[in-house]
């Protein structure tokens, strides 16, 4: 027996509420974060990820309260991302009860920030979030580029090379989102997931595009991800985490039941 593959429900939080949009628009309310977190904990979620999707100053305090409230009732690892830009931001989130923070745009803007954060708090709590879009043409070898600002801004950075660089700088984990797939419910970008997972030594979380339980299993079996992240299939009662684990276990994937 060995290490279990993880299922991580993702809670997009806006002004203290869980929301879920499709490709960053059409936001639907999905409930109170503490209640949602407790439900996933009871269903057997292995970790939870909170993304502060607006990350304005006012909302930042709201987010600290959300994390504090969840951390006093849910005893599994919590990752918080969105608007993490300084060492002080990280310290505040960890003090609120987060175990890991996700760093995205701030890493693109200044990669040294990841090194400083990892030196200060340890690699185990530094997750670098990568939003990637396929930029190669149909007949070319696949290539993905990093985008920031919710997928609106191209950076010119190659996703696989960027992931390797972030790990060299101290990232303890990569949260990899396919911007092409996010919100489409058509499955992960498995080629992207596999390319990054095989390029780095640290765990990779596949994200973006889950529409059904088989997509989660495929992320592990074909994408070689160490963990799979999904939002809407859990938020609106379509499936439970327990059903997802059962589906994965049936295909020989090691899970925590």
């Amino acid at each position: 027996m060995a290490l279990a593959k993880r299922i991580i429900p993702c809670l997009d939080v806006d002004a203290g509420r869980v929301v879920k949009g499709v490709q960053f628009v059409d936001i639907r309310d999905a409930g109170d974060p503490v209640e949602v977190a407790k439900r996933y904990d009871q269903q057997g979620a292995d970790e939870l990820t909170f993304l502060d999707i607006t990350a304005t100053h006012d909302n930042r305090d709201t987010m600290h309260h959300v994390v504090e409230a969840v951390a006093s009732q849910v005893f599994i690892p919590l990752t918080v991302g969105g608007g993490i830009r300084t060492v002080a931001d990280i310290r505040k989130m960890l003090n609120a009860g987060a175990d890991k923070v996700g760093i995205n745009s701030a890493a693109v803007k200044r990669p040294e920030f990841v090194r400083e954060a990892a030196e200060k708090f340890g690699s185990q709590c530094i997750v670098v979030a990568i939003d990637a879009k396929r930029v190669s043409a149909e007949n070319e070898p696949p290539r993905w580029e990093i985008f920031t600002h919710g997928g609106r801004q191209a950076t010119g950075l190659d996703a696989v090379e960027w992931a390797k660089k972030m790990v060299a700088f101290g990232a303890g984990e990569i949260l990899l989102t396919s911007m092409d797939k996010d919100g489409t419910r058509s499955g992960f970008d498995l080629e992207l997931t596999r390319a990054v997972s095989e390029a780095v030594i640290v765990p990779v979380i596949a994200s973006g595009g889950v529409g059904g339980l088989q997509d989660l299993a495929d992320g592990i079996l074909e994408g070689h991800a160490d963990a799979v992240l999904a939002a809407s299939i859990f938020h609106f009662g379509q499936h439970t985490v327990g059903e997802a684990k059962k589906k994965m276990a049936e295909q020989g994937i090691e899970v925590r039941l």
């Binding site: 593959k5 690892p77 009860g97 340890g122 709590c125």
Partner: protein
């Protein structure tokens, strides 16, 4: 009434640990502190930690905690967690070699074989723990229960009789150590849901006898 001191030496997320203790022991007093008086007054000591070993040992040294911790470890229920556990061994190969507290004779080693075998390092996630001895802290926890781990180094104690639990990642490694009133775990009980909370509950109720 239990009075639990969580040692605060600037390494890692102490809030998770204190919240979990408060959850399992609502009647206990939980203090997060590096004060000598608090450590001496406590009935139970929790020594957590995440990050790198060199910073850990130098923080302990600069806060004058080395002697206090050794003293506490010789007389009351004492629980090391993650880096806290690793700091309790004689020596760690992390950061080009760092001397530890020496509460357990042995080394802390990098997951070299796992990395060579293509496994991800850090070893991160839920892994099974095989209980290698009966112990009050395992009470009510099924053997092979999964706990949450996140670490790149593991303890390799000299005395196998001190191994309380093992897990596997490319090879067997020590997931828990025990001797007299000391227990130490590589995983994070405060993040291991039911099994982890049960272990913390057992610790708070433990009198240090085996």
């Amino acid at each position: 009434m239990s009075r639990i001191a969580v040692i605060d030496y600037g390494m890692g997320n102490l809030r998770s640990v204190s919240k979990a203790l408060e959850n399992v022991a609502p009647d206990a007093q939980v203090v997060v502190s590096a004060e000598a008086a608090e450590i001496q007054a406590a009935s139970h000591i929790v020594f957590p930690g995440v990050g790198a070993i060199r910073d850990c040992m130098s923080e302990l040294q600069s806060r004058d905690l080395l002697g206090l911790l050794k003293q506490a470890a010789s007389e009351k229920p004492f629980l090391g967690i993650c880096l806290g556990m690793q700091a309790m061994l004689s020596f760690s190969e992390e950061n080009n070699g760092v001397t530890g507290l020496g509460l357990f004779s042995g080394q802390v080693r990098y997951f070299k074989q796992a990395a060579a075998a293509g496994l991800k390092v850090p070893h991160m996630g839920w892994n099974q723990v095989y209980q290698r001895q009966a112990h009050p802290l395992w009470q009510g926890i099924a053997d092979t229960s999964r706990f949450y781990f996140v670490h790149s180094y593991y303890a390799d104690p000299d005395k196998t009789v001190e191994i309380a639990g093992e897990s596997s990642y490319a090879h067997s490694f020590t997931a828990a150590l025990a001797r007299d009133n000391i227990f130490a775990v590589q995983f994070h009980p405060e993040k291991s849901q039911h099994a982890g909370l049960q272990l913390l509950k057992n610790f708070v109720q433990w009198d240090g006898q085996v």
